[in-house]
Symmetry: C2
Subunit: 282 residues, 2 copies
């Protein structure tokens, strides 16, 4: 099987760079006329998968909105993950998991193991405990042709104090936390002429210069890019926002598309996909 | 209802400071003669709860080992959380969740809402996206008399590069990431003569001085202290390790007790509880 990075590069070519964030938020369930239950979240998400299939190449279920409903929510999520993968979509579980030792290994096992009930194609993880703490997850991803996206510079304003802090020791002393993560990930994607399988999250609302993040460390790294739509960034600005590594971005939209409702979602996605493709082709 | 901090202080007085980490790791399931399934994890954990009830005051299920088994694992976890709370134990869900906006709010809802299937007394969270990103979780905890423990200085060696990075901006410029989190939490526990409900995680293997963490910012903050036992720290050293704020620690042991097996666990816990109590009374 091709690696996650290879499958992602293929998806970019055939279906573009847009990703639908599947967020069964209570207010969206209400707008869609669905109950605020695990069943409502399942119905919502399956309709979202149906609209995404054949329209875009990537979906990103937000795990928190399923966890809210406990084990019933997780059963709904299992169904959504399976249907999305069966429909040929690349599925990124937006879980932001992180821990140490055998605990973080168990998270990797949950999301990145073929045949696991929660199997996805990739997951998001957090390196508060160091990129080194994620070693087992990255190794599992590689062994199973899965992907990992490590939070680097996120799109919320409260994040900057931590993410712009400067490393005080080690080889990357003087680098920001976000830029050091980007740099450590760069070493994990050594093949410069194709996209690697270890990605980073860099929000579209982030000023990369302010974080000391430079394009030369992102040449073969997939970039999960939230922050488009309701959070403020515009898809047509993607080339300016990501510069020479804009071809590596997965531009994620959630509410900005989901608010179109079950009936309008496919058209909304198609319009946004084309808008993004046109901007990236400029 | 008394606040989480008040209930914790009462637990310290009546049952001591030891916490049993419930880690249904596959190798422990095997040692206990249980299958490596959701049912095995449930049985393991219910026996652990039974041994803990009346022996110690606090348990900390590691969510990753349930998530491994998908929705069936979550159903097992729901049962374990409910039985532990019904047995009068304070239950800390070791989830290390973190996100922004309505996503992180959904995590707070999942774990800290009375009547929710995953209801616990407290949860661990990660502030990679900033302490400010956790505002909704902290507010929910406060409204529901629940607790939150924010990762500050964790017990794994790979963590130090991130956690000792120095803030470059804001009021706490020049402070380490870990010390700034401790300081921000201090402001959330303003009542100096009693324990607050927002805690931090500071591993027993961490050199607090190296992280710039000082006791004067921890006077009313509960400290979740992993790293005892197999990770290297000794319970009898707790007073030296935590200094004047040792009375605020929840000393967590997992494998070091669980390896005693279902039959030996209660005695192992009793011995470790007494060893810790004696050390803290010195």
């Amino acid at each position: 099987m091709p690696s996650f990075g290879e499958r992602l590069a293929d998806t970019f070519l055939t279906r573009g760079h847009l990703c639908l964030g599947i967020d069964p938020h209570s207010f969206l369930l209400e707008e869609w006329g669905l109950p605020d239950t695990a069943e409502g979240a399942r119905e919502f998400s399956l309709r979202a998968v149906e609209a995404a299939a054949g329209t875009v190449g990537i979906v990103k279920p937000q795990v928190a909105f399923f966890e809210r409903h406990g084990s019933a929510g997780y059963a709904a999520l299992e169904r959504v993950l399976a249907e999305a993968r069966a429909a040929g979509l690349l599925v990124i579980a937006d879980a932001k998991r992180g821990d140490l030792g055998s605990s973080v290994a168990a998270y990797g096992e949950a999301w990145l193991t073929p045949g696991s009930p929660l199997e996805a194609d990739a997951m998001t993880v957090s390196a508060y405990q160091g990129v080194g703490s994620l070693r087992s997850v990255i190794a599992r991803a590689s062994a199973n042709d899965k992907g990992v996206f490590i939070l680097a510079a996120t799109s919320n304003p409260e994040a900057s104090e931590t993410q712009t802090a400067l490393r005080d020791r080690g080889e990357l002393a003087g680098w920001t936390v976000a830029a050091s993560i980007v740099s450590e990930v760069d070493l994990l994607n050594p093949d410069t002429d194709r996209l690697g399988s270890v990605g980073v999250v860099i929000g579209a609302t982030v000023d990369a210069v302010d974080y000391g993040i430079t394009a030369d460390r992102l040449l073969s790294t997939p970039i999960l890019a939230p922050g488009f739509g309701e959070q403020g960034a515009t898809l047509t600005d993607a080339p300016e926002l990501y510069g020479e590594v804009a071809p590596n971005i997965i531009a994620s939209v959630s509410r900005g598309a989901l608010r179109a409702g079950a009936g309008g979602l496919r058209d909304a996605l198609r319009a946004q996909r084309d808008e993004l493709a046109e901007a990236l082709a400029r």
